[in-house]
């Protein structure tokens, strides 16, 4: 019990308390001895900053589309990989690949792939006749956001696949046999048996993916640095920008605390809506 308490206090409670403390002081790292207590000035600064609201909107787009795409593609791939085919285990293993490669490697590769002038993506699409002129993947606002989302979906869909596949493998095959005898076709079997059984695990996956994507920093930073302009800023980039580029540690901490509050409220609401854990309580 003691090791648990110590590690929780050291690595969980203290950083949060420190972040909250920091959000109430003005702290410029160049003048570390001068930390006046400023009440809610940092929060007011954040809430009055148009860039915060722009970043917030972009964070919602970034998180919403990424999570939805990961959930849908993840379930689809998991269903495919659940088929009892010869050699399927090789594919199940390969699937982990995007998840294993470090983000910095992926981001740098993607910047080459998506380079408007010399990237292979434009080259292939042009050769195939799908596009007639080069697409500026990373240097127009919409395309930059789409590319960042694509990268995130590519890298983290395997997580969804693994979790969903694990759940699929625990659904007794007799249930499908019973449904076949009852006359249910493949679509009805998916809707009435598979999907309800996946509901709980999907609730968990969506919460995790939402939290992790909302807080994601390195993919956007490495791929677009928030650009072009500020068109791919999310709140993590905003907080980093305030703290590290503008040396406003207090403001950075305040935006971090706001993110914490948003995620906490959002997760609780979502879990309530999906009824996660209700079945267990009923039993």
């Amino acid at each position: 019990m003691l090791p648990l308490l110590v590690s929780v206090a050291l690595f969980l409670v203290w950083p949060i308390v420190e972040a909250i403390r920091l959000s109430f002081v003005r702290y410029n790292p160049l003048r570390p001895d001068d930390q006046p207590f400023v009440w809610f000035d940092n929060y007011l600064f954040v809430l009055e900053d148009p860039l915060f609201w722009e970043s917030f909107r972009q964070a919602l787009v970034w998180t919403g589309i990424s999570t939805l795409a990961q959930a849908v593609i993840g379930v689809g791939l998991a269903l495919l990989l659940h088929q009892p085919l010869r050699g399927i285990n090789a594919f199940r293993g390969l699937l982990l690949f995007p998840y294993i490669v470090p983000t910095v490697v992926i981001a740098l590769n993607w910047r080459w792939l998506f380079n408007a002038e010399i990237g292979i993506v434009n080259h292939l699409l042009l050769s195939a006749g799908i596009i007639s002129e080069r697409v500026a993947w990373l240097s127009t606002p919409d395309m930059a956001m789409a590319s960042a989302i694509l990268l995130n979906v590519w890298k983290y869909t395997p997580f969804v696949v693994i979790v969903v596949l694990a759940r699929l493998q625990t659904i007794p095959t007799e249930l499908y046999d019973a449904a076949k005898v009852d006359g249910a076709g493949a679509i009805r079997r998916f809707r009435d048996i598979t999907l309800p059984q996946l509901a709980e695990v999907l609730a968990v996956v969506v919460v995790f993916r939402t939290i992790w994507t909302f807080n994601k920093f390195e993919e956007i930073y490495l791929l677009t640095r928030g650009g072009p302009g500020t068109s791919t800023y999310n709140l993590a980039l905003y907080a980093f920008d305030q703290a590290m580029a503008n040396l406003r540690m207090g403001v950075g901490a305040a935006s971090g605390v706001i993110m914490l509050g948003l995620l906490l409220a959002g997760s609780l609401l979502y879990i309530r809506l999906t009824g996660f854990g209700r079945e267990d309580r009923a039993a």
């Binding site: 009852d182 006359g183 009805r188 009435d192």
Partner: protein
Amino acid sequence: MTDVAIRGLSKSFGTNRVLKALDLTVPSRQFVTLLGPSGCGKTTLLRLIAGLEQPTEGEIRFGERRVDGLPPGERNIAMVFQSYALYPTMDVARNIGYGLEVRGTPKAERRERVGAVAKVLEILHLLGRKPRELSGGQRQRVALGRAMVRKPDIFLMDEPLSNLDAKLRAAMRGELRRFHLDLGTTTIYVTHDQLEAMTMSDLVVVMNEGVVQQIGTPEEVYARPANLFVAGFIGTPPMNLIPARNEGGRVTVEGHPLPVAAPAGAPAELILGIRPQDVSMATPGEPGTIPGKVWMVELIGSERLIEVEIAPKVRVTAEVRASHRAALDDAVAVRLDPAQIHLFDPASGQALPREAVREVGARPA
């Protein structure tokens, strides 16, 4: 009503031949049990009849209609699974009515039919519950309800009682039999439990290694086993199977002549089968008995099993009253009831014609 005709049915999984050119007719309205040890192919046969597996060869007909090739939903069958396979996210009413729902039965009619079945099964008060809130016996009833509600041509049951405790199993055996008599639906029931097969069936199909060994009423497979497998598989405690010889038309065991004549054309080497209930204890030296030593004594409630070694490694078990006392290594003798002796050809394993096993007068040993 529908009979089931199976012709030349084979099923292989890879190189493993699970069913070997099987022929079987299940008469209409009968309760037929597929009985055999694990891996004998009985569940595979049931799944082929259900349409959950595709045969490698052969055909299956329900009445005049050829069904192999049809999906399970178009065969108008109902199946009860070993694990019951209730849909965990649906309540009991929807579980029972799901087959009707899939077939587009109107909601009002569905509710009425589910209610009627639930009433028969005495589960009306459970209709709103989820399967996880039910006991094993209640789940069993819901599974039965789901099978009954569609008024299928054929009921298929895959060891439906094996997950129940012993007491409940005995009660459900009676109920299943009762439902069958009431509904009169052709039923194919898979079990490895010979007690279930004996108590519930009109016909028992004994299977081993993908081949039908014998088809008959419970009385027939018990009293007249067709071969060594059936003889050894049916009956508790199992039948004694001991080597015997045909010496000039007379059956002898370890050189002791028995008051039984071998049928004409019987081979010189025989296997003699006799149930422990048909073996009695005797005093050594009495004519027609086989002497030996008591090797093991077991009390099984009202009876006692006495295992007598009549030759090295050759033992005969007698089931006698519990009041009969015997000590290990006592010199005793066993008497085999001549009318209950079965003779088998050790080469083919087949039973020799029973009519020919005649009793002959004992002659002094």
